[in-house]
Symmetry: C2
Subunit: 315 residues, 2 copies
């Protein structure tokens, strides 16, 4: 059985899986990013785990490895200056994997990979112009235009999370201020909550220590009717809406697909998002663009996308 391996490297978790051409995942495993101080130790560990599966399942044939990584450079096969990873500088990840495997190894931005996953297996199956946005530790994005991923001249296109939505705004991991992901991501939402909770003694969020606050905890409070928690989602949604509306002005997609931790809040995010998004859109774009959550299982999107890189390249 021909299988691709998809590897998703995130700020919190590294997930790898074996998938067939239809997007069925036959094996998946998750590792904590923080345990790998150097890329070499990660590549060594992953390669051994992949090989162990191949040894165990004699009918599995590896056709290639796809990797989705923050600041992943499609053209060079490198991860460069990723703000949410501890590995600094330029990491030649594809070259490191080539020491272990002869099959094709393809790397791109983690969100670009997720976009390809949505194109091959998800809600964007029939779309040729859409944006995929991941609301995880950071805010990642993949832009598809005319059926092709926008890679840019150097492979670094699709950094919507690092568009500036507020000049002199919040400090970002990238070294600048006011980037969209400092507001609209799991981390951004938690920052909003940590700033606002001390000012509102009536919020049930005061039950938690500052370090216990997560987008899930805020969502639960909002669902219990907590006004502050609802305001936090409203604020997050408005910032996200501004970033999305500005992106629409540039690439005019028919659809925007959201996935990642924050998107699990469902209508708490989507209802204010749709309202602010339409308000921020120029009239020529209003009431035209579908905002949807990924229909793929949370956690699978990135691995499916990373594996889809392989299947797309083979077709």
């Amino acid at each position: 059985m021909k299988l691709a391996v998809g590897i998703d490297i995130g700020g919190t978790n590294i997930v790898f899986g074996f998938l067939d051409q239809k997007g069925n995942i036959l094996y998946e495993e998750s590792l904590k990013t923080k345990y790998f101080c150097t890329p070499d130790t990660l590549v060594d560990t992953l390669s051994k785990k992949i090989q162990a599966q191949l040894d165990e399942n004699k009918d599995w044939e590896l056709v290639g490895i796809g990797i989705g990584a923050p600041n992943g450079n499609y053209f060079k096969g490198t991860i460069e200056h990723a703000p949410n990873l501890d590995w600094k500088g330029i990491v030649p990840l594809v070259d490191l994997f080539k020491k272990y495997f002869d099959q094709p190894i393809i790397l791109t931005n983690d969100a670009n990979a997720a976009a390809i996953g949505e194109m091959l297996f998800g809600v964007a199956k029939n779309e040729s112009d859409f944006i995929l946005v991941t609301l995880g530790t950071g805010l990642g994005s993949g832009f598809v235009s005319g059926g092709q991923l926008i890679y840019g001249h150097d492979g670094f296109a699709g950094e919507l999370g690092h568009t500036i939505v507020e000049v002199n705004g919040r400090k970002c991991g990238c070294g600048r201020r006011g980037c969209l992901e400092t507001y609209a991501s799991a981390t951004g939402l938690v920052r909003t909550a940590q700033e606002w909770i001390p000012e509102d003694p009536y919020s049930i969020l005061n039950r938690y220590n500052s370090t216990e606050i997560s987008s899930r905890v805020v969502a639960e409070a909002a669902n219990e009717g907590d006004q502050l928690a609802q305001n936090i989602f409203e604020f997050t949604a408005e910032k996200l809406a501004l970033g999305l509306a500005n992106a629409v002005a540039i690439t005019s997609p028919s659809m925007i697909v959201l996935y990642g931790g924050v998107s699990q809040a469902g209508d708490l995010l989507m209802t204010p998002l749709k309202k602010h998004f339409e308000n921020y859109l120029q009239n020529i774009f209003q009431n035209k663009i579908r905002l949807e959550f990924s229909g793929l299982e949370e956690g699978n999107v990135a691995v499916l996308g990373a594996g889809a890189l392989v299947w797309k390249s083979l077709n």
Copy 2:
């Protein structure tokens, strides 16, 4: 001799010209936009003028008509809700021209057309990922990614001028607030000047009536050493830099080409623009992207681009 007609429809002027496949313009004529209250009168006048040239030059063979227009829709051949034109609603310009000509008629956003002009005849000849920005009455833009124009699902991509750079900022012709073009365009620069001049009695710009202020007048004052005029360019450049840096995060171009009235200010604009642009860029994009003025003659770019639409479609 095979010739294409390029028509550029701007908020102030409508220019049409005959050009050969190498971009040589054999005839060009300019009309004032405000004299055409309806699109029908414009199409009638232009068609007669084009036919008159063909009658006069018996060896000219018309191969097609390309049209660049604000809010031009490539897929439908329409101009839709253009904020800087008096014609409201949806104008089926290609259909109107088809009553007069049997040759192919192609319409797109005026800045998209200019981008194709730069690709075929200008400074972007060898670039596959670049942005063209026109700083005229408004701010237009055309995005080329992987050698292809980004049209978007509906033909309306490339509206960088209507990305919001300041929430609740200046009122824009599009009905919203804070659009980039309310700051970074000839009109935007004049608004800044008109706001700031009354507050600075020492500026030589006080010699002019409010209605006499233009980007040229402000440039002249800046060149004479007027601090306020220089500050106006600095402010305009900073806003433009923010809009460009955000666009770079999305499409990662190797080059940004500037043309249009304000770009005639040369270093007055370019020097602060380069400084603020690098400041606003994420580190992965810094010192990589060339900012250049169009090398094509001012006024010709749009007509060349509109004509280039025809030559590109025939090749």
